[in-house]
């Protein structure tokens, strides 16, 4: 026999009754239902027991858990721009600030950027085997390619992953990739295997 609608509704509302988040009207209705018979009271007690189990079984940690690591990461992100703009740095990291390296890096970025821009404009042609699908219908990854990645190698890797570029680069040189055919997981593992991606993060919101 199927339970009466009132019983189903009571069952549905009991968790919120126990956690105290029901509105006054719904709460009064549950009170009324519970007063009908001892069986309903037992049902309430069962829900409370479950609540106690959930609370007592929860993992416990110190209030400072992870705090030092977060602070260190914040400090690091603040120091990075300061270090990069520092003039007259000395020591074994001098080469990082040398004009020659800056020119070389700029050249890599220009070549890579041009190639990637070209790829992103032609990503939906039939010979790629990719359908033209709105970005919002797909799952997206935000990636940064390694400095030595050439346009040709990136194109091969994207084809293997069934992915195409749908946005970017942003201020830190990241691109958004999407795939209408494969899952984010498949896309991620395929790109990881290519060795061309320095950082990669799922980004359900897509380019923004």
């Amino acid at each position: 026999m199927n339970p009466a609608p009132d019983e189903l509704l009571l069952e549905e509302r009991l968790p919120w009754y126990v956690n105290g988040s029901l509105g006054p009207e719904e709460r009064a209705w549950v009170d009324q239902m519970l007063a009908r018979s001892p069986a309903e009271g037992a049902r309430l007690e069962r829900e409370r027991a479950l609540a106690r189990t959930v609370v007592s079984g929860a993992a416990v940690a110190a209030q400072d858990i992870g705090l030092e690591r977060v602070r260190a990461a914040i400090r690091q992100s603040r120091e990075k721009p300061a270090t990069a703009s520092r003039k007259g740095a000395t020591g074994r990291w001098d080469w990082l600030f040398s004009p020659r390296l800056a020119v070389a890096m700029a050249a890599v970025i220009v070549v890579q950027g041009a190639g990637i821009a070209w790829l992103s404009t032609r990503g939906t042609t039939a010979d790629d085997g990719l359908r033209s699908v709105p970005v919002t219908d797909m799952r997206t990854l935000r990636v940064r390619f390694v400095p030595g990645a050439t346009e040709e190698r990136i194109r091969t890797a994207l084809q293997a992953a069934g992915a195409r570029i749908v946005g970017g680069p942003n201020l830190v040189g990241e691109y958004w990739l999407a795939s209408p055919m494969t899952s984010v997981e498949e896309m991620r593992s395929s790109l990881q295997a290519s060795g061309l991606v320095g950082s990669m993060e799922a980004d359900p919101l897509g380019p923004h």
């Binding site: 968790p15 609370v55 209030q63 858990i65 992870g66 914040i74």
Partner: protein
């Protein structure tokens, strides 16, 4: 879990939006334990759960200025934690907690003889059943009974319609009941 002081969270968060590091430290101390407990429901690994706390709080710091106030701050933070936990899960297979881990908790509850043993056994069974639930069902029960969140907030954290939350909760409670009955414990 003792209820969180929402007013205090909002006051601190307003300062965090102005990049006040001292306020961020205080906010971290208020919410990090909750983020950890929540993450543990899904990742079931203390180190991974700590990573989730770190990544979540970093994102809170970095995105605070972009928070539009469409939900409570705590709900927003738990929503971030959920995404970070999902990302963390991709890096490692889920590991199940050893049921013996609960022994020290139960011993600390005190009591003696058969009644203590019986309580220990019942608690062990119920907690074991909780571990058998799917991650989303466990997470749902956590949000209801540990965070005491209303239905709309849980839907926001899990990124699903309210009816989906109701369905998940319905199945979670039904699975708990049948598991407990199967194991022969009375709660």
């Amino acid at each position: 879990m003792s209820p969180i002081d929402e007013g205090e969270v909002h006051r601190l968060f307003a300062r965090v939006r102005e990049a006040d590091e001292a306020a961020f430290t205080e906010l971290h101390r208020l919410v990090a334990r909750r983020v950890f407990a929540f993450a543990m429901r899904r990742v079931q690994d203390e180190h991974l759960a700590e990573d989730v706390v770190v990544n979540t709080m970093l994102q809170v710091w970095n995105s605070a200025a972009r928070f539009r106030g469409e939900s409570r701050v705590c709900t927003w933070i738990l929503g971030i934690a959920r995404i970070k936990a999902l990302e963390a899960m991709r890096t490692r297979e889920p590991q199940h907690a050893d049921i013996d881990d609960y022994a020290d908790v139960l011993v600390a509850e005190g009591g003696d003889g058969e009644s203590a043993l019986e309580r220990w056994q019942v608690a062990r069974i119920v907690r074991g059943c909780l571990e058998e639930l799917s991650a989303v069902q466990r997470e749902c029960l956590h949000l209801v009974h540990y965070e005491d969140l209303p239905l709309a907030d849980i839907a926001a954290v899990q990124g699903v319609p309210e009816n989906t939350v109701k369905t998940r909760l319905f199945h979670a409670r039904r699975n708990m009941r049948s598991c407990v009955e199967r194991e022969g414990a009375c709660t």
